[in-house]
Protein backbone atom coordinates (compact mmCIF):
# COMPACT_ATOMS: atom_id res chain seq x y z
CA UNK A 1 0.00 0.00 0.00
CA UNK A 2 2.67 2.42 0.98
CA UNK A 3 4.71 1.56 -2.11
CA UNK A 4 1.75 1.91 -4.41
CA UNK A 5 0.87 5.30 -3.00
CA UNK A 6 4.33 6.44 -3.78
CA UNK A 7 3.87 5.71 -7.44
CA UNK A 8 0.55 7.56 -7.88
CA UNK A 9 0.55 11.19 -8.93
CA UNK A 10 -0.55 13.81 -6.43
CA UNK A 11 -3.58 14.62 -8.64
CA UNK A 12 -5.01 11.13 -8.60
CA UNK A 13 -4.36 10.89 -4.92
CA UNK A 14 -6.39 14.03 -4.29
CA UNK A 15 -9.17 12.65 -6.45
CA UNK A 16 -9.19 9.39 -4.60
CA UNK A 17 -9.26 11.24 -1.37
CA UNK A 18 -12.25 13.37 -2.24
CA UNK A 19 -14.13 10.36 -3.53
CA UNK A 20 -13.37 8.70 -0.21
CA UNK A 21 -14.63 11.67 1.77
CA UNK A 22 -17.73 11.62 -0.35
CA UNK A 23 -18.52 8.12 0.88
CA UNK A 24 -17.94 9.31 4.40
CA UNK A 25 -20.27 12.25 3.98
CA UNK A 26 -22.93 10.11 2.38
CA UNK A 27 -22.69 7.70 5.27
CA UNK A 28 -22.86 10.54 7.72
CA UNK A 29 -25.90 12.12 6.10
CA UNK A 30 -27.76 8.82 5.79
CA UNK A 31 -27.05 8.02 9.41
CA UNK A 32 -28.08 11.47 10.57
CA UNK A 33 -31.38 11.23 8.69
CA UNK A 34 -31.94 7.80 10.11
CA UNK A 35 -30.88 8.75 13.60
CA UNK A 36 -32.68 12.06 13.87
CA UNK A 37 -35.81 11.41 11.89
CA UNK A 38 -36.58 7.96 10.46
CA UNK A 39 -35.81 5.75 13.45
CA UNK A 40 -37.25 8.07 16.11
CA UNK A 41 -40.46 8.24 14.09
CA UNK A 42 -40.56 4.48 13.79
CA UNK A 43 -40.43 4.32 17.58
CA UNK A 44 -43.50 6.49 17.87
CA UNK A 45 -47.08 5.47 17.83
CA UNK A 46 -50.02 7.86 17.83
CA UNK A 47 -53.29 7.14 19.54
CA UNK A 48 -56.68 8.80 19.61
CA UNK A 49 -58.64 9.61 22.70
CA UNK A 50 -61.73 7.44 23.16
CA UNK A 51 -64.02 10.49 22.92
CA UNK A 52 -63.42 13.77 21.12
CA UNK A 53 -63.92 15.79 24.28
CA UNK A 54 -64.17 19.54 23.84
CA UNK A 55 -62.77 21.72 26.59
CA UNK A 56 -63.93 24.78 24.65
CA UNK A 57 -67.52 23.64 24.85
CA UNK A 58 -67.34 22.93 28.58
CA UNK A 59 -65.28 25.88 29.72
CA UNK A 60 -66.11 28.70 27.33
CA UNK A 61 -69.63 27.87 26.20
CA UNK A 62 -70.97 26.26 29.36
CA UNK A 63 -68.91 28.31 31.75
CA UNK A 64 -67.61 25.44 33.80
CA UNK A 65 -64.57 25.90 35.99
CA UNK A 66 -61.58 23.59 35.93
CA UNK A 67 -62.22 22.49 39.53
CA UNK A 68 -65.61 21.06 38.70
CA UNK A 69 -63.90 18.09 37.11
CA UNK A 70 -60.29 18.27 38.33
CA UNK A 71 -60.13 18.81 42.06
CA UNK A 72 -58.21 17.94 45.18
CA UNK A 73 -60.05 15.51 47.42
CA UNK A 74 -60.38 15.97 51.16
CA UNK A 75 -57.48 13.59 51.82
CA UNK A 76 -55.22 15.67 49.58
CA UNK A 77 -55.29 13.29 46.61
CA UNK A 78 -56.14 14.62 43.17
CA UNK A 79 -59.15 13.47 41.18
CA UNK A 80 -57.44 13.58 37.77
CA UNK A 81 -59.81 13.04 34.90
CA UNK A 82 -63.46 12.48 35.78
CA UNK A 83 -65.08 9.07 35.93
CA UNK A 84 -68.05 8.04 33.82
CA UNK A 85 -70.20 8.49 36.91
CA UNK A 86 -69.00 12.08 37.32
CA UNK A 87 -69.66 12.85 33.66
CA UNK A 88 -73.07 11.27 33.98
CA UNK A 89 -74.03 13.79 36.61
CA UNK A 90 -74.79 16.04 33.63
CA UNK A 91 -74.70 13.62 30.73
CA UNK A 92 -77.18 11.12 32.11
CA UNK A 93 -78.90 11.77 28.82
CA UNK A 94 -77.81 13.42 25.59
CA UNK A 95 -77.73 17.17 26.16
CA UNK A 96 -76.52 18.63 22.91
CA UNK A 97 -76.22 17.86 19.24
CA UNK A 98 -72.60 16.71 19.14
CA UNK A 99 -72.50 13.12 17.83
CA UNK A 100 -69.50 12.40 20.09
CA UNK A 101 -71.56 13.29 23.11
CA UNK A 102 -74.34 10.99 21.93
CA UNK A 103 -71.77 8.24 21.47
CA UNK A 104 -70.38 8.87 24.94
CA UNK A 105 -73.82 8.57 26.50
CA UNK A 106 -74.58 5.47 24.48
CA UNK A 107 -71.30 3.62 24.92
CA UNK A 108 -70.21 4.73 28.36
CA UNK A 109 -72.99 6.19 30.47
CA UNK A 110 -75.56 3.62 29.49
CA UNK A 111 -73.22 0.64 29.69
CA UNK A 112 -71.26 1.72 32.73
CA UNK A 113 -67.98 1.49 30.82
CA UNK A 114 -65.31 3.49 32.62
CA UNK A 115 -63.98 6.43 30.59
CA UNK A 116 -61.32 7.23 33.17
CA UNK A 117 -59.51 3.97 32.59
CA UNK A 118 -59.53 4.47 28.81
CA UNK A 119 -58.56 8.11 28.70
CA UNK A 120 -54.99 8.67 27.57
CA UNK A 121 -53.13 10.91 29.95
CA UNK A 122 -50.65 13.11 28.11
CA UNK A 123 -48.52 13.62 31.16
CA UNK A 124 -48.78 9.99 32.25
CA UNK A 125 -46.18 9.04 34.79
CA UNK A 126 -45.09 5.46 35.44
CA UNK A 127 -46.20 3.62 38.59
CA UNK A 128 -42.88 4.25 40.27
CA UNK A 129 -43.49 7.99 40.42
CA UNK A 130 -45.28 9.57 43.32
CA UNK A 131 -46.76 12.87 42.31
CA UNK A 132 -48.92 14.94 44.60
CA UNK A 133 -50.92 17.69 42.97
CA UNK A 134 -51.74 19.10 46.38
CA UNK A 135 -48.08 19.53 47.22
CA UNK A 136 -47.57 21.44 43.96
CA UNK A 137 -50.63 23.62 44.35
CA UNK A 138 -49.15 26.12 46.78
CA UNK A 139 -50.15 29.29 44.94
CA UNK A 140 -53.20 27.86 43.16
CA UNK A 141 -55.66 29.35 45.60
CA UNK A 142 -54.44 32.78 44.55
CA UNK A 143 -55.18 32.13 40.90
CA UNK A 144 -58.31 33.65 39.48
CA UNK A 145 -60.37 32.12 36.70
CA UNK A 146 -59.82 29.41 34.17
CA UNK A 147 -57.30 31.40 32.11
CA UNK A 148 -54.90 31.90 34.96
CA UNK A 149 -55.39 28.35 36.20
CA UNK A 150 -54.74 26.99 32.73
CA UNK A 151 -51.58 29.04 32.48
CA UNK A 152 -50.41 27.66 35.80
CA UNK A 153 -51.28 24.06 35.03
CA UNK A 154 -49.67 24.22 31.62
CA UNK A 155 -46.31 24.68 33.26
CA UNK A 156 -46.36 20.90 33.18
CA UNK A 157 -49.48 19.87 31.28
CA UNK A 158 -50.51 20.47 27.70
CA UNK A 159 -52.76 23.46 27.70
CA UNK A 160 -55.94 21.64 26.78
CA UNK A 161 -58.32 24.23 28.19
CA UNK A 162 -58.66 25.95 24.85
CA UNK A 163 -58.77 22.89 22.61
CA UNK A 164 -61.90 21.86 20.81
CA UNK A 165 -60.60 18.38 20.01
CA UNK A 166 -58.08 16.53 22.16
CA UNK A 167 -54.49 16.78 20.90
CA UNK A 168 -52.97 13.68 19.34
CA UNK A 169 -51.43 11.36 21.90
CA UNK A 170 -47.99 10.07 20.95
CA UNK A 171 -46.36 7.16 22.69
CA UNK A 172 -42.97 5.48 22.45
CA UNK A 173 -43.38 1.89 21.34
CA UNK A 174 -40.56 0.58 23.48
CA UNK A 175 -40.96 2.51 26.70
CA UNK A 176 -44.69 3.10 26.49
CA UNK A 177 -44.12 6.66 27.67
CA UNK A 178 -46.19 9.50 26.31
CA UNK A 179 -44.30 12.09 24.31
CA UNK A 180 -45.42 14.66 26.86
CA UNK A 181 -44.37 12.69 29.90
CA UNK A 182 -42.08 14.84 31.99
CA UNK A 183 -38.82 13.00 32.42
CA UNK A 184 -36.77 12.98 35.57
CA UNK A 185 -34.48 15.80 34.58
CA UNK A 186 -37.56 17.95 34.03
CA UNK A 187 -38.71 17.37 37.60
CA UNK A 188 -35.23 17.78 38.99
CA UNK A 189 -34.82 21.18 37.42
CA UNK A 190 -37.40 22.75 39.74
CA UNK A 191 -36.65 20.51 42.67
CA UNK A 192 -33.09 21.66 42.67
CA UNK A 193 -34.27 25.15 43.57
CA UNK A 194 -35.47 25.16 47.11
CA UNK A 195 -37.84 28.05 46.67
CA UNK A 196 -39.45 26.85 43.45
CA UNK A 197 -43.16 27.59 43.62
CA UNK A 198 -42.73 29.06 47.06
CA UNK A 199 -42.20 25.70 48.70
CA UNK A 200 -39.12 24.78 50.65
CA UNK A 201 -39.88 21.10 51.01
CA UNK A 202 -39.02 19.93 47.55
CA UNK A 203 -35.62 18.35 47.59
CA UNK A 204 -34.16 16.15 44.93
CA UNK A 205 -34.02 13.15 47.23
CA UNK A 206 -35.13 9.96 45.48
CA UNK A 207 -38.08 9.36 47.77
CA UNK A 208 -39.50 12.81 47.10
CA UNK A 209 -40.85 11.50 43.81
CA UNK A 210 -40.50 7.73 43.79
CA UNK A 211 -42.64 5.09 45.35
Amino acid sequence: MEERNNTTTPATEAKKCSCGWGAFVVGLVVALILGWWVLPNLMKETKKQPIAFSHVEHVQNQGMTCEQCHFVRADGSFSGTPTTAQCAECHFTVLGSNPEEARFVREYVQTGREIKSEWLVYQKQPDNVFFSHALHFGPLAELRGPKETAAFCSKCHLNVAETDVPPVYTENRLSGYSENTMLMWGCERCHAEHMAMGNTNASNACFTCHK
Binding site: V72, A74, D75, G76, S77, P126, D127, N128, F130, S132, A134, L135, F137, N201, S203, N204, A205, C206, F207, T208, H210, K211
Partner: protein, 261 residues
Protein backbone atom coordinates in the same frame (compact mmCIF):
# COMPACT_ATOMS: atom_id res chain seq x y z
CA UNK B 1 -17.72 5.99 51.84
CA UNK B 2 -19.52 8.59 53.92
CA UNK B 3 -18.34 8.15 57.44
CA UNK B 4 -20.38 10.88 59.06
CA UNK B 5 -23.86 10.44 60.41
CA UNK B 6 -26.19 12.74 58.55
CA UNK B 7 -28.26 15.11 60.60
CA UNK B 8 -31.95 15.58 60.02
CA UNK B 9 -34.53 17.80 61.64
CA UNK B 10 -37.01 14.95 61.54
CA UNK B 11 -35.89 11.41 62.23
CA UNK B 12 -38.63 8.84 61.76
CA UNK B 13 -38.07 5.97 64.07
CA UNK B 14 -39.62 2.90 65.49
CA UNK B 15 -39.63 1.53 68.98
CA UNK B 16 -40.48 -2.15 69.22
CA UNK B 17 -41.28 -3.55 72.65
CA UNK B 18 -40.12 -7.15 72.38
CA UNK B 19 -41.84 -8.03 75.63
CA UNK B 20 -45.15 -7.22 73.96
CA UNK B 21 -44.54 -9.05 70.71
CA UNK B 22 -45.88 -12.57 70.55
CA UNK B 23 -44.89 -13.29 66.97
CA UNK B 24 -48.36 -13.56 65.42
CA UNK B 25 -47.23 -12.24 62.05
CA UNK B 26 -50.01 -9.68 61.51
CA UNK B 27 -47.33 -7.06 60.88
CA UNK B 28 -45.76 -9.17 58.16
CA UNK B 29 -49.08 -9.72 56.43
CA UNK B 30 -49.97 -6.04 56.62
CA UNK B 31 -46.55 -5.10 55.30
CA UNK B 32 -46.86 -7.36 52.28
CA UNK B 33 -50.35 -6.12 51.52
CA UNK B 34 -49.47 -2.47 51.96
CA UNK B 35 -46.28 -2.56 49.93
CA UNK B 36 -47.42 -4.84 47.12
CA UNK B 37 -44.97 -7.57 47.97
CA UNK B 38 -45.93 -10.55 45.83
CA UNK B 39 -46.93 -13.74 47.66
CA UNK B 40 -44.67 -16.77 47.51
CA UNK B 41 -45.99 -20.22 46.72
CA UNK B 42 -43.30 -21.75 48.91
CA UNK B 43 -42.57 -19.36 51.72
CA UNK B 44 -40.79 -21.95 53.82
CA UNK B 45 -37.45 -21.27 52.17
CA UNK B 46 -36.62 -18.23 54.22
CA UNK B 47 -33.54 -17.45 52.15
CA UNK B 48 -35.65 -16.84 49.09
CA UNK B 49 -38.83 -15.31 50.48
CA UNK B 50 -39.05 -11.62 50.06
CA UNK B 51 -40.21 -9.96 53.25
CA UNK B 52 -39.58 -6.37 54.13
CA UNK B 53 -40.35 -7.20 57.72
CA UNK B 54 -39.33 -10.51 59.24
CA UNK B 55 -40.06 -11.79 62.71
CA UNK B 56 -37.15 -13.66 64.25
CA UNK B 57 -37.55 -16.05 67.16
CA UNK B 58 -35.07 -15.43 69.95
CA UNK B 59 -33.95 -17.96 72.50
CA UNK B 60 -32.15 -17.55 75.82
CA UNK B 61 -30.23 -20.72 74.92
CA UNK B 62 -31.09 -22.44 78.19
CA UNK B 63 -32.32 -26.03 78.21
CA UNK B 64 -35.85 -27.03 79.13
CA UNK B 65 -37.54 -25.95 81.38
CA UNK B 66 -35.58 -22.74 81.88
CA UNK B 67 -35.84 -21.87 78.25
CA UNK B 68 -37.39 -18.55 77.31
CA UNK B 69 -38.58 -17.32 73.98
CA UNK B 70 -39.05 -13.88 72.46
CA UNK B 71 -39.92 -12.55 69.05
CA UNK B 72 -38.09 -9.79 67.28
CA UNK B 73 -39.65 -8.11 64.24
CA UNK B 74 -36.93 -6.76 61.98
CA UNK B 75 -37.80 -4.00 59.53
CA UNK B 76 -35.12 -1.96 57.78
CA UNK B 77 -33.17 -0.18 60.52
CA UNK B 78 -33.01 3.05 58.46
CA UNK B 79 -29.48 3.41 59.80
CA UNK B 80 -28.08 6.81 60.55
CA UNK B 81 -24.91 5.56 58.95
CA UNK B 82 -26.20 3.03 56.47
CA UNK B 83 -23.73 0.46 55.24
CA UNK B 84 -25.77 0.06 52.06
CA UNK B 85 -25.94 3.65 50.85
CA UNK B 86 -22.20 4.05 50.60
CA UNK B 87 -21.71 0.93 48.54
CA UNK B 88 -24.46 1.25 45.92
CA UNK B 89 -22.71 2.07 42.65
CA UNK B 90 -25.71 3.78 41.05
CA UNK B 91 -27.32 5.70 43.95
CA UNK B 92 -30.36 3.44 43.91
CA UNK B 93 -30.35 3.70 47.65
CA UNK B 94 -29.82 6.93 49.48
CA UNK B 95 -30.42 8.70 52.75
CA UNK B 96 -31.01 12.29 51.90
CA UNK B 97 -34.62 13.19 52.50
CA UNK B 98 -35.83 14.93 55.63
CA UNK B 99 -37.04 12.20 57.96
CA UNK B 100 -33.93 10.09 57.52
CA UNK B 101 -35.58 7.17 55.75
CA UNK B 102 -33.16 5.19 53.62
CA UNK B 103 -34.69 5.17 50.17
CA UNK B 104 -34.48 2.25 47.79
CA UNK B 105 -35.55 2.92 44.21
CA UNK B 106 -35.99 -0.35 42.32
CA UNK B 107 -36.20 1.31 38.88
CA UNK B 108 -32.70 2.63 39.41
CA UNK B 109 -31.29 -0.58 40.82
CA UNK B 110 -29.06 -2.64 38.53
CA UNK B 111 -29.22 -5.66 40.81
CA UNK B 112 -25.57 -6.04 41.80
CA UNK B 113 -26.63 -7.02 45.36
CA UNK B 114 -23.64 -5.28 46.93
CA UNK B 115 -26.03 -3.55 49.34
CA UNK B 116 -27.35 -6.92 50.45
CA UNK B 117 -23.84 -8.06 51.19
CA UNK B 118 -23.25 -4.91 53.19
CA UNK B 119 -26.33 -5.13 55.41
CA UNK B 120 -25.75 -7.10 58.61
CA UNK B 121 -29.49 -7.09 59.34
CA UNK B 122 -30.49 -8.93 56.15
CA UNK B 123 -33.06 -6.21 55.61
CA UNK B 124 -32.58 -6.25 51.87
CA UNK B 125 -34.21 -8.66 49.50
CA UNK B 126 -33.69 -9.50 45.90
CA UNK B 127 -36.27 -10.24 43.23
CA UNK B 128 -34.92 -13.58 42.05
CA UNK B 129 -37.82 -13.85 39.63
CA UNK B 130 -40.46 -11.49 38.34
CA UNK B 131 -43.08 -11.11 41.04
CA UNK B 132 -46.27 -13.04 40.37
CA UNK B 133 -49.81 -12.49 41.56
CA UNK B 134 -51.55 -15.67 40.45
CA UNK B 135 -55.15 -15.50 39.32
CA UNK B 136 -56.89 -12.31 40.32
CA UNK B 137 -54.56 -11.45 43.21
CA UNK B 138 -53.27 -8.38 41.39
CA UNK B 139 -56.68 -6.80 41.91
CA UNK B 140 -55.76 -6.30 45.53
CA UNK B 141 -52.65 -4.24 44.76
CA UNK B 142 -52.61 -0.90 46.49
CA UNK B 143 -51.97 2.21 44.39
CA UNK B 144 -49.23 3.36 46.76
CA UNK B 145 -46.12 1.35 46.00
CA UNK B 146 -44.95 0.44 42.52
CA UNK B 147 -44.57 -3.21 41.71
CA UNK B 148 -41.01 -4.32 41.26
CA UNK B 149 -39.43 -6.40 38.55
CA UNK B 150 -36.96 -9.26 38.62
CA UNK B 151 -33.34 -8.46 39.21
CA UNK B 152 -33.71 -5.59 41.65
CA UNK B 153 -33.27 -5.18 45.37
CA UNK B 154 -36.00 -3.89 47.63
CA UNK B 155 -36.47 -3.26 51.32
CA UNK B 156 -38.67 -1.70 53.97
CA UNK B 157 -39.29 1.99 53.38
CA UNK B 158 -41.08 2.72 56.67
CA UNK B 159 -44.16 2.89 54.38
CA UNK B 160 -42.74 6.08 52.98
CA UNK B 161 -45.82 6.65 50.83
CA UNK B 162 -47.75 7.16 54.04
CA UNK B 163 -45.35 9.96 54.93
CA UNK B 164 -46.07 11.55 51.56
CA UNK B 165 -49.79 11.13 52.07
CA UNK B 166 -49.62 12.61 55.52
CA UNK B 167 -47.79 15.60 54.07
CA UNK B 168 -50.32 15.87 51.30
CA UNK B 169 -53.22 15.77 53.75
CA UNK B 170 -51.49 18.35 55.94
CA UNK B 171 -51.03 20.70 53.00
CA UNK B 172 -54.64 20.19 51.92
CA UNK B 173 -55.73 21.08 55.44
CA UNK B 174 -53.40 24.05 55.61
CA UNK B 175 -51.04 22.59 58.20
CA UNK B 176 -47.29 22.40 58.17
CA UNK B 177 -46.30 19.15 56.44
CA UNK B 178 -42.95 19.21 58.22
CA UNK B 179 -44.53 19.21 61.67
CA UNK B 180 -46.87 16.24 61.67
CA UNK B 181 -48.61 15.41 64.93
CA UNK B 182 -47.87 12.07 66.62
CA UNK B 183 -49.75 9.34 64.80
CA UNK B 184 -50.41 11.31 61.60
CA UNK B 185 -47.87 9.09 59.91
CA UNK B 186 -47.41 5.52 61.03
CA UNK B 187 -46.31 2.43 59.18
CA UNK B 188 -48.60 -0.44 58.20
CA UNK B 189 -46.93 -2.78 60.68
CA UNK B 190 -47.36 -0.31 63.53
CA UNK B 191 -51.02 -0.08 62.64
CA UNK B 192 -51.48 -3.83 62.33
CA UNK B 193 -49.78 -4.96 65.52
CA UNK B 194 -52.61 -6.18 67.77
CA UNK B 195 -50.40 -6.08 70.83
CA UNK B 196 -49.26 -2.51 70.32
CA UNK B 197 -45.65 -3.65 70.35
CA UNK B 198 -44.61 -1.13 67.73
CA UNK B 199 -44.55 2.63 68.30
CA UNK B 200 -43.69 4.93 65.47
CA UNK B 201 -42.88 8.60 65.32
CA UNK B 202 -40.27 11.31 65.05
CA UNK B 203 -37.39 10.50 67.37
CA UNK B 204 -36.41 14.17 67.44
CA UNK B 205 -39.84 15.52 68.26
CA UNK B 206 -40.60 15.78 71.99
CA UNK B 207 -44.31 15.70 71.19
CA UNK B 208 -43.96 12.19 69.85
CA UNK B 209 -44.08 9.16 72.15
CA UNK B 210 -40.98 7.57 70.66
CA UNK B 211 -38.91 10.53 71.76
CA UNK B 212 -39.34 9.50 75.38
CA UNK B 213 -39.36 5.75 74.81
CA UNK B 214 -35.85 5.64 73.38
CA UNK B 215 -34.55 7.09 76.62
CA UNK B 216 -35.74 4.04 78.52
CA UNK B 217 -32.94 2.13 80.24
CA UNK B 218 -34.34 -0.96 78.55
CA UNK B 219 -34.01 0.48 75.07
CA UNK B 220 -31.34 -0.85 72.74
CA UNK B 221 -30.60 -1.12 69.08
CA UNK B 222 -29.43 -4.02 66.97
CA UNK B 223 -25.68 -4.30 66.44
CA UNK B 224 -24.99 -0.83 67.75
CA UNK B 225 -21.30 -1.63 68.07
CA UNK B 226 -20.91 -1.75 64.32
CA UNK B 227 -21.70 1.95 64.29
CA UNK B 228 -24.69 1.80 61.98
CA UNK B 229 -26.74 4.09 64.25
CA UNK B 230 -30.17 2.55 63.50
CA UNK B 231 -33.41 4.50 63.75
CA UNK B 232 -35.19 1.41 65.02
CA UNK B 233 -35.06 0.84 68.77
CA UNK B 234 -36.06 -2.20 70.75
CA UNK B 235 -37.20 -2.43 74.32
CA UNK B 236 -37.00 -5.39 76.63
CA UNK B 237 -36.80 -5.68 80.36
CA UNK B 238 -35.11 -9.02 79.96
CA UNK B 239 -31.34 -8.82 80.07
CA UNK B 240 -30.89 -11.87 77.86
CA UNK B 241 -33.03 -10.30 75.14
CA UNK B 242 -30.97 -7.13 75.17
CA UNK B 243 -27.84 -9.25 75.01
CA UNK B 244 -29.16 -10.93 71.89
CA UNK B 245 -29.27 -7.49 70.28
CA UNK B 246 -25.54 -7.22 69.85
CA UNK B 247 -22.32 -9.21 70.03
CA UNK B 248 -20.68 -9.25 73.42
CA UNK B 249 -17.57 -10.91 74.70
CA UNK B 250 -18.12 -13.01 77.79
CA UNK B 251 -16.99 -10.40 80.27
CA UNK B 252 -18.84 -7.50 78.62
CA UNK B 253 -22.12 -6.17 79.96
CA UNK B 254 -24.93 -4.89 77.78
CA UNK B 255 -25.17 -1.24 78.78
CA UNK B 256 -21.45 -0.50 78.66
CA UNK B 257 -20.21 -1.76 75.34
CA UNK B 258 -23.04 -0.14 73.38
CA UNK B 259 -22.17 3.33 74.58
CA UNK B 260 -18.74 3.16 72.99
CA UNK B 261 -20.22 2.10 69.66
Amino acid sequence: MSSEVKQFKIRWGMVIDIDKCTGCGACMVACQAENNVAPAVDGSNKLRSLNWLTVFRLSNHKPFPDHEVAYLPRPCMQCGKPSCVAVCPVIATDKREEGGIVSQIPPRCIGCRYCMASCPYHARYFNWYDPKWPGDLAQALTPDVSTRMRGVVEKCSFCHHRFMKAQEAAVAAGRDPMDLPDGAYITACTEACPNGAITFGDLNNPAHKVHELIKSPYAFRLLERLGTDPQVYYISKREWVRREGDNYLEHEKTGEATKQG
